[in-house]
């Protein structure tokens, strides 16, 4: 219980800290720069995957890897499983979490919608980092239509 709240509070402090720093660097740039946040997530995800998969067999297919992300990985980090996984079998996956941990206490509706991107960016990076370490290069974006539900779009880059 107590480590849950530590992670949550630290997460929100990291967000306000990185955004504040970005503000000071480029005062004229209006767009909030979330790339630092995404990169912090990336390195976190890259490392955490070593620990989570240390006793697992290799994944046979890409879909197995995604299933692992939706179940074991998500319950380890976000204390629940992904509610819905969809794919077009051509490298695009959509992971839907109907009650995302960082948003579930903020609002159930449209309030704070414009600030939601700040709170999902880190997780985009975590997913990208994890998959990168499992040898899947991809782009991860998130979509929030109504809090606390989030859709993560994963686009695998084929070479």
């Amino acid at each position: 219980m107590s480590d849950d709240i530590l992670f949550e509070l630290l997460h929100s402090e990291i967000i306000s800290y990185t955004l504040q720093n970005a503000d000071e660097k480029d005062k004229e740039k209006k767009d909030e720069d979330l790339s630092n946040l995404e990169y912090i997530g990336f390195s976190t995800g890259y490392r955490i995957i070593e620990r989570l998969t240390k006793e697992m067999a290799r994944f046979k297919e890409e879909l197995d890897t995604m299933k692992f992300i939706c179940t074991d990985f998500w319950s380890a980090v976000y204390k629940k499983q992904i509610d819905n996984l969809r794919t077009n079998h051509q490298g695009v996956y959509v992971l839907q979490d109907n009650s995302f941990r960082f948003l579930s206490r903020m609002s159930s509706g449209k309030q704070y919608l414009e600030l939601a991107p700040q709170y999902v960016t880190f997780t985009c990076g975590v997913i990208r980092g994890s998959l990168a370490n499992l040898n899947i290069q991809c782009l991860v974006t998130a979509e929030v239509q109504s809090l606390p539900s989030v859709k993560f779009h994963i686009q695998v880059q084929r070479s």
Binding site: R105, M106, S108, G109, Q111, L115, Y119
Partner: protein, 145 residues
């Protein structure tokens, strides 16, 4: 049994939140003035109780009762004050206030990074959760008489 209204104050007396349910008589002043008056009275009662007590007080001021209503008071170690007015038949309000603090305030205000502490609460989710919590509690029964 019925619940009239709730005030939440912070350590320095800012009104963080106010909501009312069955309040038939209004004080005829603005919400802010009324909150200041309430806070001032509570502050005085608290120090009065602490001074006048013949033995060491543990919890200090808990509630007072008039012929028409009871005011229940809960102060947390961090100085937050939860004040709930009910009719005189209500029981177990202290536990209710504890639960409101623990399950509603901490969950939906403290754990919401977009809620600034020490400022009036804007979160819609907090509002709906508190309203639902009060309405489903055994104390909340509108007088049908």
């Amino acid at each position: 049994m019925t619940v009239h209204n709730i005030y939440i104050f912070d350590r320095v007396g800012t009104l963080l939140y106010y909501q009312e349910w069955n309040r038939l008589k209004h004080s005829g002043m603005t919400k802010e003035e009324e909150a200041k008056l309430t806070y001032g009275m509570l502050f005085s009662i608290k120090s009065f109780v602490n001074r006048i007590s013949p033995t060491d007080t543990k919890e200090g001021f808990l509630f007072y009762r008039t012929s028409k209503y009871s005011l229940h008071y809960l102060e947390t170690p961090s100085g937050l004050k939860f004040v709930l007015n009910t009719d005189n038949h209500s029981q177990g309000i202290r536990d209710l206030l504890q639960q409101i603090y623990k399950e509603i305030f901490v969950e939906y205000v403290v754990r919401n990074p977009l809620c600034n502490l020490n400022e009036p609460i804007q979160s819609e989710l907090f509002k709906t959760k508190l309203d639902a919590y009060i309405k489903q509690s055994s104390v909340f029964l509108t007088k049908s008489m």
